[in-house]
């Protein structure tokens, strides 16, 4: 392919620029974008994230802006406008032609993370009374205009209500003079325009969809969401859940592009809240100060026991939160999950308890570290572990249910949150077991 540089400097290919893009600062990005080979700027621009497109547009000349904006589908333009300042939003809107401006404004009215904010208003409409042959001809003609409309024809009545859907494949295998209404599938999976994008993504994954129609409250079709939009949504939602599970607020931008101060705000809030919760451990320990001063050996196992509760709680909460996000577990599965996690907690606690018991006995044989009551001490450690691990597992599994029932995000039951909760109660379990077993001997 011939090279036709658009400026004096050496021309870049879109693939070359993609590779270095994330390492470039804003000014360098604009320079590099202008050095793209003719014909490649279009593709490259369309492949950028909405945030990068917005930042780039704002830095371009008005003429360049207009050219770049005109390439995009209305839903992509709307995504960009959500990334720039209100003044810039106004200005970019004014560069669009009137029909597109109207479509974009309509899309902007939706919440960014609802089906309506994600959909494309371009799709192929088919009348129910059309013949199969007419519908095929119509779909093929549409296909050359907008790629997103290729897969299906949506059958609408005069009020734009969705009656059914036909695929090209269904049409081709049907007799040419049959009516679309006789061939179409009426049992269509559609979403309301206000449905959250996470739910839309779940439907895609569950039913292996290529496109899903979006309808309003009266069943009127407004647009379609296609699988390629959903890839981004799934990545984004998983990232949010992962960051929440790690015990912080989700970031709004990639790690390296988030200013240090706003990242600190996202982290400091939860970390301080967890710390304040964890201060209760100092209070709980203070409550057992007498016991500790009489048997310092008890203090030695405190980190071991509370961290085991935290780790088992982290496993359970992670499993349940992810399964809830994927729709594998519903609120009605509460008792099934409780039974499973009770059994898991007892089994895992038994394993750790056995290892803990062995550790105390072996150290006693080797170093004589724990004195004459070492068997009772070993039993205290082992029983506490069974209790703490079972409790940690149950708390980790059931906290997401409680949060969901109260209409909070289950992912807020982060691993550190569960660990903090279990730390305080773990201390109470441990010292209670110790008092029961060691009273009159070590205590």
């Amino acid at each position: 392919m011939e090279r036709s540089p658009s400026s004096g400097a050496e021309a870049l290919t879109a693939v070359e620029l993609s590779r270095s893009w994330s390492a470039l600062e804003n000014d360098a990005r604009v320079q590099a974008y202008r050095r793209l080979r003719r014909g490649e700027a279009e593709d490259f621009f369309q492949g950028l994230s909405s945030a990068d497109q917005g930042a780039l547009l704002v830095a371009l000349t008005p003429r360049e802006r207009k050219l770049s904006l005109r390439l995009l589908a209305p839903d992509d333009v709307a995504d960009i406008l959500l990334e720039v300042s209100p003044a810039e939003q106004e200005e970019l809107l004014s560069l669009l032609d009137a029909p597109t401006r109207k479509e974009v404004s309509a899309l902007l009215a939706y919440a960014e993370d609802a089906a309506g904010g994600l959909m494309s208003p371009w799709f192929a409409r088919v009348r129910p009374e059309a013949t199969v042959d007419e519908a095929i001809r119509y779909l093929k003609r549409q296909a050359t205009d907008h790629l997103e409309t290729l897969y299906y024809g949506y059958v609408l009545d005069a009020e734009q209500r969705l009656l059914g859907v036909v695929s090209l494949r269904q049409l081709v295998t049907a007799p040419g003079d049959q009516r679309v209404s006789d061939v179409m599938k009426t049992d269509v999976i559609a979403v309301n325009e206000d449905v959250d994008q996470e739910e839309v993504a779940r439907l895609f994954a569950e039913h292996d969809l290529v496109a899903i129609p979006v309808v309003d409250g009266e069943g009127r079709m407004k647009g379609i969401v296609t699988a390629d939009d959903i890839v981004d949504v799934v990545e984004e939602e998983a990232t949010e859940d992962i960051q929440k599970l790690g015990g912080m607020e989700a970031l709004d931008a990639p790690y390296l592009r988030t200013p240090l101060f706003s990242m600190l705000k996202k982290r400091a809030g939860w970390l301080s809240a967890l710390f304040v919760g964890e201060l209760l451990t100092a209070t709980a320990m203070g409550h057992y100060e007498d016991e500790i001063s009489r048997a310092v050996v008890l203090a030695l196992f405190v980190p071991l026991i509370i961290s085991s509760g935290g780790n088992s709680g982290s496993q359970a909460t992670t499993l349940v939160i992810r399964a809830m996000a994927l729709g594998e577990i519903r609120l009605s599965d509460f008792f099934r999950v409780t039974r499973r996690e009770l059994a898991s907690g007892l089994a895992l606690g038994g394993i750790l308890g056995a290892i803990g018991f062995a550790r105390v006995v072996i150290w006693q044989q080797l170093f004589g570290a724990y004195g004459e009551h070492h068997l009772l001490l070993a039993l205290t450690v082992a029983l506490s572990l069974v209790g703490v691990v079972t409790w940690g597992t149950l708390a980790g599994a059931l906290l997401p249910f409680a949060l969901r029932a109260l209409r909070f995000d289950p992912a807020s039951a982060s691993a550190p949150f569960v660990a903090t909760l279990v730390d305080v109660s773990g201390l109470v379990i441990y010292f209670t077991v110790a008092e029961l077993l060691l009273r009159g001997r070590l205590l």
Copy 2:
């Protein structure tokens, strides 16, 4: 739409069955599948996960199996065969017609999570010397056979090497008598057949792709991966990473469908390993037993301090692991990340240290809990927190780099793993600060 029940019982719609599917046992699933309305079984079957398709096929009669299998693209058949026993694999393969069997066998030779195992061998080939008009006619004809081939025509030479790609849109806007080789885009993003599916998903998200061509070592085109295949991959990889981050091995099936025993195996391994690591805290505490018996008050803050290190480490490792999985952070970003996390750790440690200092001073005023050296004790707690949080943050951020440099999965640096690592070193930091500040007073 008329109802045409395929058996005596009441007919089910595909959407109705989808809703109850996850709650049904295997036998009930087969019964319900047979009660689907005529024409809906096909759609429903195609929307199932490969594992569910495999389980269902094995339970159907040979005639039903054959009908269901014939509906699927070779890549989907291959996915099912990977879910069943070798004997069942043989039997299902024998039900296919010869050309499909050959294609499926070729796909089975790829690793399940490589680009080759994910691709469809069906795509539209175009000769470079064809005219634009010929190419359009050819693509439209293909479109009616296989939906997956609709978006692009792939331009191959006589040895099947990928020369470039043309979209329908590019073709339609070009003069009809021009050669395809003059219109095609040669700067194509393609993947080798051995590339991991996680990398393929990253390319889709980064470049907003609809389909990506898969080539072998000599650049010969073997198939395409489409966006709808990638939605599943992204969900699956995120689930694996989340479960690893929670401190366990990733499950092979949804939570409620994983047998209790195999779930326990995935959890017990890591939990025991973490526990054995955590046993070092008992050793470390034993090392400071004298100090604790002289100043029991020191023991009271042990859970607070080590858990703060764990929580801050959990935040940092979660951020870095996710950013690595999304390709936002590479090994070469090591120093940038180190600087950022060092600054974050000091700032977060400063905040927690201030809260900790205030807690000791206020409790002293209210309850006289900590005696005459309470200011020194408060300073010990505060400085330890700065040290432990900074160290936890750095360890959490850098461990994924170390693992990746050693070619391990960075996601193994799970939150509980980092917490365990930081617990032991946190104790050393705390008691060292205490010895420096309190020697001759409390100690």
